[in-house]
Amino acid sequence: MNAAGSNPARRNGIGARTPRREDARHLSGRGRFVADMKLPGLREVAFVRSQVPHGRIRGITVPADAEPGSVWTGTDLAPIAEPLTATSTLEGFRAAPLPHLAVEKVRYVGEPIAMVIASARAEAEDLAARIIVDIEPLPAAVDFTGALAQDAPLVHDDWPDNVYATTSGDIGDVDAVAHDAAVTVTREYTMNRQAVVPLETRGVMAQHDQTSGQLVVHSSTQTPHMIRDMIAILLGVEARQVRVIAPDMGGGFGTKCSVYPEEIALAAVAMRLPYPIRWVEDRWEAMVSSTQARDHHYRITAHAAADGTLLGVEADILVNAGAYSVHPWTATMDATMSAAMIPGPYRLSNYRFRTRSVATNKTPLGPYRGVARPGACLAIERTLDELAHALGIEPNEMRIRNMVRPEDMPYTSVAKKVYDSGDYPEAVRRVSALIGHDAWRKQQQDVSDGARHRIGIGYGSFTEQTAHGCIEWASRGLAITIGTEGARLEMDSSGGLTLSVGIKSHGQGAETTLAQVVSEVFDVDPALVTVVHGDTALTPRGDGTFASRSMVMAGGATYGAAQQLAGKVLRIGGVLLGEDPKKLRFKDGAVVGRTGSVTYRELAKEFLFTPDHVPGVEAGLEVSFYYRPDTQTGAFTYASHAAVVSVDLDTGAVSLLDYAVVEDCGTVVNPLIVDGQITGGIAQGIGTALLEELVYDPDGQPKSTSFLDYLLPGATEVPMIKIGHMQTPSPHTVFGVKGAGEGGAIAPPAAIANAVTDALRAFGAEANETPMTPVRIWTALQDAQASPVRGAAMTGTDR
């Protein structure tokens, strides 16, 4: 196993351990975020937000002494900004227009009702506190049971029930294999709702530039071009009149890639004000009004043969999508992804599923690292362990027996996903060795019966579609089918290279990795390549950074632009050196031939200052390239995680004794960055597994909206992660790279839940709900001891 596929000999290019060039400015406090911006006359915005989960607005009273233009309500905004409607092409999908400021009804705690402008944020909050919103409270639809009940309160009055859409499929013959199965297990799993917690909250600053006539919007967003498009559409202006800039960002993790009401509201109002305005989301707002994540419930029935062969799976999937469908992902994003990922990395031919995406009086659900896969992985991986246990097979062996093998590649899954490459079983074998499976089994057995703790080992495997193209998004009903990225590469008159890309690096280190792509082609130090991103005025069109797509997509575009520019530079070099361009090469920032060489600096100066010295080469030293992979089914990153836990029988507390992962994200561009992404993703997955939960009371009030109650993983909760790499290049992408951003977050809930259940086997207690809090584990133990027949599973009560 090589360490992160590193190639220590490489200074430049793909595979080099190039330190992140972004780090210097961030470590020395020289980054520039939305909240750091200073503009003359800048005023600050606060929002009045709903404090009730569901209610009818009877009236909004603005203090008589409020300055004109300082308070904006939904009524004021209606004529100047269309509401956002995230439609879907899925059959029967019900759209739910999302007002930027609530009109008629409020549908979740945190929904913006009025926008208030003052010279300072504290003053804006003063004024906001004096606005009286008269709301008639209505009963709320909160959990699945409540929202799906016959007499459930309707989140959207004109719907017959609270279901955005139902999808289903029945492939093969599950009933026939059920009849033949040696073992059948049925379990229910709950992955509770989480906040997405980037260190930097959202922020928007909007200014109508009187000189250019352009609306300039700064936003902490992963998708600047998409925000620009939507501002133009909803405000009824041309996109050329709108510039969106995403400056430095302190993370996003998916919660900054939807179009938000605050972005549209500030943009619309700024068009009518002679001064710039800014809103910086505070932490309470972030916990209630940024899109939230997970909130899934599963009922899985699986059938296996005596040798462990997985014969068939039935899945009933519920997703609590919250009050509105967010653009462009829609309210069925999680459900459709989940249904497609339940079959996992396994050879499965018989699969039946149903998904229901449920509308409730909770904050809208949006993307979060892993999008639905952590839930799907928990459900199938826990079930697989139950089958293995029933059959007396070790869980790692159970996975190896059922996984898609290298000789099966490319493999079309039962859910019609095309797994492109890799050796899935080998990842399980390697992670078993990396964690020390046999040694831990021994330690587990050595724990005495009288001890007040137990040790358990658990595995979680997955395969993950990354960098999917248009057809994938279209299959999930999106109105926008994402799948193209642009890059522009320019050599300036001093021979320097500037790359501009439409994606937005918000912590992934793309300023480093994309420079490495350029350096791979031109053999220059990546530090000498400027990478521009996050400004619609300066970058070619692109869809943004999400879905583990940027290295594949922007990397592909960058490579295309670099190849084309390289061809031209070689032709210029050929003229200058009097040699055949085909025989020239790049070395250390110069074009090198048989007899001589010319540095990029000399070459660019000759070509741009005195083009007459370079006859026969057309003008211009820049290239724009748009990349769309020929195969749009995505590059599948896969991994197997292994966790070892100790469970405290007296308290139900779970501690991680060891954690290992073996993953394959294809060709590794930068081993340092890939390892960082894996470790960070696993940390967030540990949060899902053990700590993070947005608790709503039965009335729909969120109860854990500060870090006092909402626990995040920190250095003391994340053990040293052992990482092993395999590198199977994707046949579909440039360099064979696969996405690496999300995978770390997918398997920890599954691996840890399997480890906890393994630890508690003797008691018959199971861990089937996240987060696995001490109270849940301890209660499962008590219940198991009270009903020792099969043992009471820690299933969600929230049905």
């Binding site: 944020r121 506190a129 505070d282 001490p774 109270v775 209660t779 008590q782």
Partner: protein, 290 residues
């Protein structure tokens, strides 16, 4: 999440501070480290018209050591206790307790007086100071008075302090010779407020059974002395009790009805039993004062 408008005052002496508090008593808060008050103000759960910042009062950082014990200035930070930059008259317990408070940045600013004034029984100082029989010194224009911590803490966010009174110091009696202590804090993560917090002291009285005192935080709105648990321990002086043996007396001390308890309440009681048990097991094992 920005505080409402307030007027800021920064007295240089206790007398000056007391005068200010008297004058502004209708709507004033004392601020020292600000580790609890500032978040409350940012969330506008507290909107005092006046803030009296006592961080520039040197008297509040003084420690007076006597044969009986020590009087710690109210603005002594958790960090000072943690690193024993002030003498630890409780044989290491003060240092041990301080180490568990929040995070480094919080310990650097937060103060013992502020913690007691905040009166959150899931914090360290209320329970530890109750267990040690500490006394709060309070100053107003009417003069100084001394209030035992057990009478000072009235409930969650509620103390015996008058609106115009300032905590100037906390006196902690020297731990009695022959006394050993054990403390255990149960929390989801290091640095979080406690789900349960127990302090046990065992004093060898020369008699056949040692005197045992057990205090519990985070169970009720004020720290509790666990009389039923102490009795159970007196009956089993070898400390061989298990958490299960402690649940009954604990429920009696807390006033918990185990028959009707929800799973959360049952787990909470279990955590308290385990915490008391672990504090008991820790008696005499923690590092002593330097």
């Amino acid at each position: 999440m920005k505080p409402a408008n307030f007027a800021y005052h920064r007295p240089g002496t206790c007398t000056e501070a007391a005068d200010l508090l008297y004058r502004l008593r209708d709507d004033v808060k004392v601020i020292a480290g600000g580790q609890s008050l500032l978040p409350l103000m940012n969330m506008r759960l507290a909107e005092p018209a006046h803030l009296v910042d006592v961080s520039a009062v040197p008297e509040l950082r003084r420690t007076d050591l006597t044969a009986e014990g020590a009087t710690y200035g109210a603005a002594t930070t958790h960090m000072m206790f943690e690193h024993q930059l002030v003498p630890d008259v409780a044989d290491g317990l003060l240092s041990h307790a301080a180490r568990g408070i929040g995070y480094r940045a919080i310990r650097n600013r937060g103060t013992v007086g502020g913690s007691l004034a905040h009166s959150d029984s899931s914090a360290e100082w209320p329970t530890v100071m109750s267990a040690l029989g500490a006394t709060v010194h309070a100053l107003s224009v009417r003069g100084e008075r001394r209030i035992p911590v057990t009478e000072f803490l009235l409930g969650f966010f509620s103390t015996a302090l008058a609106d115009d009174e300032l905590i100037t110091a906390v006196s902690v009696p020297r731990i009695a010779p022959g006394t050993q202590w054990g403390m255990y804090k149960m929390a989801r993560k290091p640095g979080e407020f406690a789900d349960s917090l127990a302090v046990v002291q065992v004093r060898d009285t020369g008699a056949s059974t040692p005197a045992v005192s057990v205090w519990l935080g985070a169970a009720k709105d004020v720290p509790l002395r666990l009389k039923h648990v102490e009795k159970a321990l007196a009956d089993r002086p070898d400390r061989s009790l298990l958490p299960a043996d402690l649940s009954g007396p604990l429920a009696a001390d807390i006033g918990a009805d185990t028959a009707t308890a929800s799973p959360h309440d049952r787990h909470a009681l279990q955590l308290h039993a385990v915490t008391v048990h672990r504090a008991l097991m820790a008696v005499g094992k923690a590092p002593h004062a330097a």
